[in-house]
């Protein structure tokens, strides 16, 4: 049910029993909360065309017949915004069915305008990017207040994404700013040329024109749901156009036809299973003797990349993207996140990878150093296995021994 499955996935009756914290979870052990911390997809079969009996819509139809849409770009590369623009003629449909009240990259709409809107008057906000600074936080809180639905759009909003790798910088924002404005070659040259001038941007400064402020950079990059309540998740780096279409269709169907929305927390456009299901490659070896980079291998188009020594996160990553990367010989890097059975994407991948290393003849007698040597063939495991999900990792930032 990869691409076409969205509708059947979307309109699911909310199963109260499942949704409630499992009865078996004691207060002392909030394990169930942990298991669903990535947001669970709940699938139950209902007729997509029929409003669910007894369903009381939480949202009313908007005035003027159009829904109100906001799109916001937090800490992200911009790819998510481009992916919306990239939706060809569908972007026109968006215009036809929605008033875009805010979309900094493509449309006007100031913060002030949003502030003046009544709470809940925006039908849906698509927020891409992680929350990395005070401005991000302020804006997403504002949008949450004004919106009926908030969608974490793209892997950064869902899991922290690549920006969240900054969490691994031990000195936090201070070290980031220092590096960028003092240590990089160009900055260094500037520092030497103007030793008396401040090099690192200040958060507040008085200039002749008045008082200027810049947002504070946070020590820890967060996923959207670590800051505000999120209704839906659309993972992907960036999300596919199909997924965007499915999302908007669902919102429209709900608003105009009263068709029930998917359960809160649903990851839109993902399958239940892993990327391997969508990947056409064949597995045989199921062991890793040596780790290789894609450029080092004359990649066999039919064989599993893992079998060819290329670290692919597909087996640990939920499907729905259509295995776009592996089809063209690039390993999956995990942008869709784990299945809802897994609490830690990174650990689930690297445990599997470690398990693929074969047992050696010398294993019974060899020292631990030998094993450490073997495993050291994996470079930068934290960066590789947590590339998209650092904010959601059990340990979501670097630590410093001996106190901060």
């Amino acid at each position: 049910m990869s691409k076409m499955g969205f509708f059947s996935n979307l309109f699911k009756k909310k199963d109260k029993k499942k949704d409630a914290a499992p009865a078996a979870a004691p207060a002392a052990a909030p394990a169930a909360a942990g298991a669903s911390s990535m947001g669970g997809s709940i699938y139950a079969e209902t007729d997509a065309n029929q409003p669910i009996p007894g369903y009381v819509p939480g949202l009313g139809a908007p005035e003027g017949g159009k829904i109100k849409l906001a799109i916001y770009w937090a800490a992200a590369c911009g790819g998510c915004d481009v992916s919306v623009l990239d939706s060809d003629e569908k972007v026109l449909n968006v215009g036809a069915m929605a008033d875009i009240v805010m979309w900094p990259v493509a449309a006007d709409g100031k913060e002030k305008d949003i502030e003046e809107m009544e709470d809940g008057s925006i039908t849906v906000s698509l927020i891409n990017g992680a929350v990395r600074n005070a401005e991000n936080e302020h804006m997403v809180r504002l949008l949450r207040q004004k919106s009926q639905l908030v969608v974490a759009y793209g892997s950064c909003a869902c899991f922290g994404g690549t920006p969240a790798l900054a969490n691994l910088i031990p000195g936090g924002s201070k070290e980031v700013l220092d590096y960028v404005y003092n240590q990089t070659p160009t900055s260094k040259a500037f520092c030497e040329a103007y030793p008396d001038k401040p090099h690192v941007p200040q958060t507040e400064i008085d200039v002749p024109e008045g008082h200027l402020t810049l947002p504070t950079l946070y020590n820890r990059v967060k996923s959207l749901d670590q800051v505000i309540d999120v209704d839906y998740y659309v993972p992907g780096c960036p999300p596919t156009q199909e997924t965007l279409g499915q999302l908007l269709d669902a919102v429209v169907a709900f608003v105009y036809k009263g068709v029930a929305l998917p359960p809160k927390g649903t990851h839109i456009g993902v399958t239940k299973r892993t990327l391997c299901e969508e990947c056409p490659r064949h597995k045989e070896n199921k062991r890793l003797d040596e780790i290789k980079e894609p450029y080092q291998v004359n990649i066999d188009p039919d064989k599993c990349l893992m079998d060819q020594g290329i670290l692919c996160l597909g087996a640990a990553t939920v499907g729905g993207c259509g295995a776009k990367c592996t089809r063209v010989g690039q390993p999956c890097r995990g942008c869709y996140g784990p299945t809802d059975k897994v609490t830690e994407h990174g650990a689930s991948v690297f445990t599997a990878v470690a398990s693929l290393f074969p047992i050696l003849e010398e294993d019974p007698t060899c020292k631990e150093d030998k094993i450490i040597d073997i495993m050291s063939s994996i470079k930068d495991p934290l960066g590789y296995f947590y590339a998209y999900t650092m904010s959601k990792a059990l340990i979501a930032r670097s630590v410093k021994e001996g106190g901060q």
């Binding site: 009865a23 052990a29 239940k272 299973r273 892993t274 391997c276 597995k283 059975k341 609490t343 398990s355």
Partner: protein, 1005 residues
């Protein structure tokens, strides 16, 4: 109608025999004369050489017996008459009156507390404490119910009292109770009545009974025991102070011609005294001396134990020192031991406490019982058996096991008891045999979707936990935790009454999870699981917190921190328990055939015993003929030629249609798992079998010493035996050299059989030619049990013994004389020789064993023999289910011991292959196919090949064979998608434990 079996004696021997028969689906009556089963073993503190807590390893078996659907325990009963014959006995059992209704009594002890008649010596504690007229034998008694001693009860004696009747809320008291008789119809009988201890009162020279501070070893055992009268604090009886110096005097009542003493060696005292010395040392800094003649550490890993006692624990061993007498200082009550030191000088030493290592005697009433059973006793009053029929009495259909036939240790007893049950079963299993129907438990309540309702029992384990951990506060704390609806403390969680209380509470409080905080799940989990089933709860909805072995015992001096830790452990156990799910084991079909590897005496015995119950056996022998090493033996046992016996055995095997013999056969592989192995031979044979027995033996050590092979004067013990038998032995000056290839730097163990072999040959030589000079150079003479008679006989016929130092190199030999330092004379002694007989020991042949070991994944001990599942109570089992070991493959041993163990292995295998189906463990891996895409990470890391990737509806899925899965969980951790789970150890369950461990500050609250 299918007959039952009768087991007489409820000690470890009777318990094991009953359990094996019951597990083979034969109904058993277990008759015990005492009010509780457990025998001597349940009075022991620890067991050698592993220092396992005796009660801890025995009580699960006692409870198994009590709870086994196929066992009827008849305690406080005696057999008074046996009519009929093998296969059809009618046995009259007399039940002594308890004056307490067995079914009504809950063992609450209220009556005992109120009983006014006190100060009656407590037999269980060997009179070290007193009890009342109404009493419960001991805390872990099975059945744990009260009884009245009519010799003291005032109500029974003169009708004045009746307090217990008024006290008992259950109305269980019945002063009018009468002796009853019941007639049982049984097919066969196992006499496992054990032994009694030698009466130390005869040791007048050691002052037992006269001197306060002279105690017997059994009394000392109780003094050491945490559940004993002084809670394990060893005190001098005279003043209650801790002794600084303790002496152990060996051979009390054994190995002596003195009046009322026994001539035989009691086989176990050297080891138990050493054990007592070691355990004492672990409690306190005490000087301990052991006075002995020979140290008889002939059993598995015994030698290393003795070495450890000396080296690591600093226990002083007075070798060859016979204590002449003990004197007491009437003022200080200190004791002076007068003894002859190793240089032959009379000397003395003072001690605070003297422990007499008393021997083993035939059981009380042995003669009477022998008369009732119609069986013979030997000259020592033990049950008469023979080397070739070690488990059979003189009457067909009546078997014997354990110490009733000779003094012996627990593992030998257990192996024999299994063996006796195989023999007993053969009288019962015929074409009309109907196995017992499986035990029906109450229907299991449906817990799906229900909020957890947890019941928690926190055990004091006497004082084992209670003395360190504040058990009441732990129980109270447990009661405050979420989902806990019932929490209580208990004195012994494993006691019968608590187990019943657990079952009852499940119903009463509608519990759907049970947590017991006590000892280790490794020994006690099965017991509590049964209690859950009895209460109508799936057994996997149970969890344990280990607050004894891993808390109170290792934090004895930190009661507060230990209490906090116990609370944490209980909280963790509850957190996991709340998430447990009911599990069902898979039903696995069993191939009802066995494979026996090794066609020597042991293997043939095993094969015949299995075939005797109607099951097919594949007997694999690598040589061209059956018989093994015994084919070389030329001596007689009990007047019968060994060779004749072996040939008879071969004929029986060859003429048995159920035994398929594979000669010149080499095992290629044994893939599979319990109930479903494949015996693959190199000739292409591939036979399915349900169980595998390793009876591959062990070869004689091939000497490299003394120019063996090139010097014509030098021969091995076996070659000597053959020469004597052939009438070719004509040497005048013979030296036997013991411990060649044993007890040295590279081979740490004693080969057990060489002393007896050397003595047998030496006696033959002297009898044939009284003028011959025969000298035995030895470290210790280890003629344990009735073999001591040979030692005596050898001395009588003039064999000379020269004891050399155990640390010294082997005696020197220059081609004409053998020279060694004689410890007794204190000088070098040279003996001219024209023949040197090397008592070459038994070599393990480790490499050969390893080949087979790898096929079925069983371990090998550091000495190179197979390593059984448990040294004390599972001597023929491996940890790998369905695979067993017997004979020399397990450890060097005598022929009768091999035969008994061979039968024992047959019995264990029969408990598997006699059933059409086995139920697998519930804790296995399982695949959630909704999440699996067959990535195969799991497949590669399963060592048991239990996982395959299969195509289901065109999709790749992982598939787990529950029968092959051993439940390690390796694949579960490996699974990248979260599709794989381990039942009973699911991710959320482990996570809950971690969270419960850390979400609170250290120490709970």
């Amino acid at each position: 109608m299918t007959k039952s079996a009768l087991v007489i004696g409820g000690g470890i021997a009777g318990i094991q025999a009953s359990l094996d028969l019951a597990d083979r689906d034969i109904h058993v009556y277990l008759v015990e004369k005492d009010p509780t089963i457990g025998g001597k073993m349940c009075r022991l503190d620890k067991t050698f050489p592993t220092n396992d807590c005796s009660a801890c390893i025995l009580s699960p078996k006692m409870a198994d017996c009590a709870g086994h659907p196929n066992i009827t325990v008849m305690s406080y009963s005696e057999v008074v008459k046996v009519d009929g014959e093998a296969g059809d006995f009618k046995v009259t059992v007399k039940k002594k009156p308890r004056y307490v209704k067995l079914k009504e009594c809950t063992g609450c002890g209220d009556c005992v507390a109120k009983c006014p008649t006190k100060n009656i010596p407590d037999q269980f504690e060997y009179g070290l404490t007193t009890r009342k007229a109404i009493y419960i034998p001991h805390a872990q008694a099975v059945p744990r119910v009260a009884l009245i001693d009519p010799n003291y009860c005032k109500m029974i004696l003169n009708g004045k009292c009746g307090i217990c009747e008024k006290t008992c809320k259950k109305g269980a008291i019945n002063y009018a109770d009468k002796e009853e008789e019941e007639v049982l119809e049984v097919g066969s009988i196992i006499a496992a009545v054990g032994f009694q201890l030698w009466d130390a009162g005869y040791a007048t020279e050691y002052g037992y009974g006269r001197y306060d501070n002279v105690v017997t070893s059994m009394e000392y055992e109780r003094m050491m025991c945490a559940s004993g009268p002084d809670h394990g604090h060893i005190k001098c009886p005279s003043n209650g102070e801790a002794p600084q110096k303790i002496a152990f005097i060996q051979c009390c009542g054994s190995r002596s011609e003195k009046k009322n003493w026994k001539k035989y060696c009691s086989s176990v005292c050297c080891m138990y005294a050493t054990k007592q010395a070691i355990i004492t040392k672990e409690h306190a800094q005490v000087q301990e001396d052991i006075f002995f003649m020979d140290i008889r550490s002939y059993g598995k890993e015994f030698e290393a134990y003795i070495k450890r006692a000396q080296g690591q624990y600093g226990i002083i061993m007075h070798r060859g020192a016979r204590v002449s007498n003990v004197e007491e200082d009437p003022e200080t009550k200190k004791l002076t031991i007068n003894y002859t030191d190793k240089d032959g000088n009379g000397t003395s030493a003072e001690y605070d406490l003297v422990v007499l290592s008393i021997g083993l005697n035939p059981p009380e009433g042995a003669e009477e019982l022998a008369k009732v059973l119609g069986i013979g006793l030997n000259e020592y009053g033990f049950c008469e058996t023979s080397v070739f029929k070690p488990l059979e009495t003189t009457r067909p259909g009546i078997l014997v096991s354990g110490a009733f036939s000779a003094p012996k240790d627990i593992p030998t007893t257990v192996a024999e008891s299994s063996g006796a049950s195989a023999k007993a079963g053969a009288y019962i299993v015929d074409e009309n045999f109907e196995p017992c129907a499986p035990k029906q438990y109450p229907a299991e309540k449906d817990v799906a979707g229900k909020e957890p309702r947890v019941g928690v029992w926190v055990c004091e384990c006497g004082i084992n936990i209670g003395a360190t951990v504040d058990v009441p506060s732990v129980a109270a704390y447990a009661g405050t935790l979420p989902h806990v609806v019932y929490a209580t403390k208990t004195m012994y969680a494993c006691a019968q009454d608590t187990l019943q209380a657990i079952s009852a509470a499940i119903k009463e409080h509608d519990l759907n999870r049970v947590v017991v905080a006590s000892c280790t799940p490794r020994t006690h989990e099965p017991l509590f699981r049964i209690a859950c089933r009895e209460g109508g709860l799936n057994q996997y909805l149970f969890n344990m917190a280990n607050i004894r072995d891993q808390c109170s015992w290792i934090h004895m001096h930190e009661p507060e921190a230990a209490t906090k830790k116990a609370k944490d452990l209980v909280r963790m156990a509850i957190a996991k328990a709340c998430l447990l799910e009911p599990l069902e084991g898979a039903k696995i079909p069993v191939t009802q055939k066995a494979a026996v590897i090794g066609g020597g005496i042991t293997g043939m015995t095993t094969a015949l015993d299995i075939a005797a119950q109607g099951f097919e056996v594949h007997l694999v022998e690598r040589e061209g003929q059956l018989g093994g090493q015994a084919l070389n033996f030329r001596h007689k046992e009990n007047g019968v030629d060994t060779l004749e016996f072996v040939k008879g055995l071969i004929d029986k095997v060859n003429s048995n249609n159920l035994i398929k013999v594979h000669l010149n056969a080499k095992v290629k592989d044994i893939p599979g798992f319990v109930g479903n192995f494949n015996l693959q031979l190199e000739d292409g044979t591939d036979e399915p079998v349900g169980a595998v027995i390793f009876a591959v033996g062990a070869p004689a050590y091939k000497p490299t010493e003394y120019n063996y092979g090139s010097d014509a004067k030098v021969m091995t013990g076996l070659e000597c035996e053959q020469a004597i038998a052939d009438g070719k032995f004509n040497k005048k000056n013979v030296a036997f050299i013991q411990c060649v290839g044993s007890r040295n730097e590279s081979v740490g163990y004693c080969s057990r059989v060489c002393c007896t072999t050397a003595l047998r040959n030496a006696i033959q030589i002297k009898l044939a030619d009284p003028t011959a000079n025969v000298t035995i150079f030895h470290k210790d003479i280890r003629t344990y049990g009735f073999r001591e008679e040979m030692y005596r006989k050898a001395s009588e016929v003039g064999v000379r013994f020269l004891r050399y130092d155990e640390e010294a190199p082997l005696p020197a030999y220059d081609g004409n004389t053998v020279t060694a330092f004689d410890l007794t004379l204190g000088a070098d002694v040279s003996v001219p020789v024209d023949c040197v007989v090397l008592s070459n020991g038994i070599a393990p042949a480790r490499e050969e064993k390893e080949e087979l070991a790898k096929m079925v994944k069983v371990p090998i001990s550091k000495d190179g023999f197979y390593f059984e599942a448990h040294q004390k109570l599972r001597p023929v089992d491996f940890a790998t289910e369905g695979v067993y070991v017997a004979g020399l493959a397990h450890w060097p041993k005598h022929m009768d011991e091999c035969i008994a163990q061979g039968s024992g292995a047959a019995s264990r295998a029969l408990t598997i292959i006699s059933k059409k189906f086995l139920t697998s463990e519930g804790i296995v891996a399982s695949v959630n196919e909704d999440y699996c895409d067959g990535c195969g990470v799991c497949e590669g890391c399963c060592e048991y090949k239990a996982i395959t990737i299969v195509s289901k509806d065109g999709k790749l899925k992982s598939n787990v064979n529950a029968g092959l899965c051993k439940g390690c969980g390796c694949c579960v951790a490996a699974c990248p998608s979260g599709a794989m789970e381990q039942k009973g150890f699911k991710n959320i369950q482990i996570q809950a434990e971690i969270d419960a461990c850390l979400d609170y500050p250290v120490g709970g609250e």
